[in-house]
């Protein structure tokens, strides 16, 4: 780590970062939530590099998860919510893959997935919660015994219900223990980072910080590289220390078509077009060819979308989003 994660200048390009840290069969998580602050540029680059068999962990990453599944990059999924807000009550490529039986899924809740990342970040094997007692989230396991045996990275049990050993008052009879997640790589998109990798997220952090700390390697894409002094003048506002980070990649609009608080909004037109394409395999293949494989990089992708559409998404400084944007 002294070499990889130390004070070195970690700025690199996206193709290089993805090529180095995202590999066939790796265990991975991505930051953001539904159509907000997903590391889309890195996700499209992963698809472009045709990296397969990912073991993907997510709480509610709608758009990023659905595109990775649709492009055939995902072999196993542990997730809480396969939807995308108002743009997809259930993500279409996710739904198709599960209904066709091609994608093994393990279901948890958003809090359980968050606690699992937190446990990994804390270096403990599990964390307790009272969530989902009495439900099929406890009783029904998506991953078979065999799958759990053969992959040393997956815990041998989905979760464990146990009596509360401190149950003196009797108010909390039982808890659910959820196992830690320790990924090979986490990819996050943030507003600001410096060359060493200290990062500042504006707005809600979701479980991005826990994801970064539970991963062996961290790729940060950011809207803007700022000077170390800019971030250190008010360190209360920074969330990720540089020594957790391996690669820093400046990618303006790197979350597009998802939103990035204080920078730009999600693109309803794109998300609606995606939803239409996702319904049909031929249309979806054409979608990937046009926007993902058909773009050399994120810059080229944005050029396809065109500056007019992009500019309409720019955030209003008072609110942090594009006020009055037509979101139909």
């Amino acid at each position: 780590m002294r070499i990889e994660k130390g004070r070195a200048n970690k700025i690199t390009n996206l193709a290089e970062a993805v090529n180095r840290y995202v590999f066939d069969g790796c265990h991975i998580s991505i930051g953001g939530f539904t159509m907000v602050r997903n590391p889309m540029a890195a996700i499209y680059e992963t698809i472009r590099q045709r990296i397969k068999n990912l073991h993907l962990y997510a709480h509610s990453n709608g758009q990023g998860v659905d595109e990775l599944i649709g492009a055939g990059c995902v072999a196993k999924l542990e997730i809480a919510y396969g939807g995308n807000g108002r743009f997809a009550s259930t993500c279409v490529r996710f739904r198709k893959a599960v209904e066709q039986g091609t994608l093994p899924v393990e279901d948890y809740t958003n809090y359980q997935m968050t606690l699992r990342f937190m446990a990994g970040a804390m270096g403990v094997p599990f964390l307790p919660t009272r969530s989902s007692l009495g439900t099929d989230i406890i009783d029904k396991w998506g991953f078979t015994e065999a799958m759990r045996k053969e992959d040393p990275k997956i815990p041998d049990q989905k979760l464990i219900v146990t009596d509360n050993p401190f149950n003196k008052s009797g108010t909390i009879p039982k808890v659910v223990l959820v196992p830690a997640i320790n990924t090979d790589v986490a990819i996050l998109h943030v507003q600001k980072a410096d060359a060493q990798g200290t990062a500042r997220i504006h707005g809600l952090t979701f479980s991005d910080v826990e994801q970064a700390k539970s991963a062996r390697h961290v790729i940060l894409t950011c809207e803007e590289i700022v000077s170390q002094d800019d971030l250190r003048a008010d360190p209360d506002q920074n969330q990720i220390p540089f020594f957790y980070v391996d690669a820093v990649v400046p990618v303006p609009f790197g979350a597009y078509p998802t939103s990035c608080h204080r920078c730009y909004d999600y693109d309803p037109a794109y998300l609606n077009e995606y939803l239409k394409s996702a319904q049909d395999d031929t249309l979806f293949a054409a979608y990937l060819d046009k926007y993902v494989y058909g773009s050399r990089d994120h810059q080229a992708f944005l050029e396809q979308i065109g500056p007019d559409r992009i500019n309409r998404l720019k955030a209003d400084p008072r609110t942090g989003y594009a006020v009055g944007l037509d979101r139909r």
Binding site: G32, F33, T34, M35, V36, S60, I79, A80, Y81, G82, G83, N84, G85, R86, S89, T90, F94, R95, V98, E99, D107, Y108, T109, N110, Y111, Q112, T114, T129, R130, S131, S132, L133, G134, T135, D136, I137, K140, G142, T171, P173, K174, G203, L204, T205, F206, S207, V209, E210, S259, R262, Y266, P268, A315, T319, G320, Y321, V323, D326, R327, R328
Partner: protein, 256 residues
Amino acid sequence: MSAYTQRELMAIAAARQIRDGDIVFCGTGISMLAAMAAKHISAPQSVLFFETGAIDSVLEEIPMTVADSRVMFWTSVNGSLADAFATMQNRITGSHVIGILGAAQIDRFGNLNSTVIGDYHKPAVRFSGSGGASDVASFVSRTIIFMQHEKRKFVPKVDYITSPGWIDGPGGRGRTGLPEGGPFAVITNMGIMYFDERTKEMYLGGYYPGISPRRILDNMGFSVDISRAAEVTPPSDHELRILREVCDPQRLILGG
């Protein structure tokens, strides 16, 4: 009194269930719209609260996801998922949170399915899954549920229990180790269902103008007590104006 759509009526019916001062956990869509309407109509002191960590959001525009930048505006605190769920599991704050949820299936005890239709391992239909719904249904004092009134959705036994209701009736939650609290009301396109204090079973509390209790029973896979049902007061012009002009002028949630 002006005409209104079913969706408008549902949003208003749910909004009326929110008490002033409640901490309201909102999901995406109509649940958010109901909370937003209540805030502008009858519960100005209520707190809009999102699982993503936004606490006491000021919604100048309707969000399209609980992670939308619109929920991050002018809040008391912008935190994380961990903070938000801890606030609901917390014994002091959690007892003052009311959750609004939707689902694909519901049974007489208010247990919800938002995961699969059919066998979990070979589903006929796959839905989004829990998200934060099972957490909320596990932790908070009262939940309000949105449903479409159809036989295949009000079923004797849900295909998969995603979010706990009253489990199998009186004492059911206690036996599983869940905190107290549970489903309070079910708002549908035809009426409002409540849960009996003693039996924890669903009963018809109200039916919308022009819809008979009988017709509601015809749209359910199990029968419920209708003896306590009364006609629901239709939305007032004021309620409709707030809903249409203040909350969702683009009809993003209300639809056409």
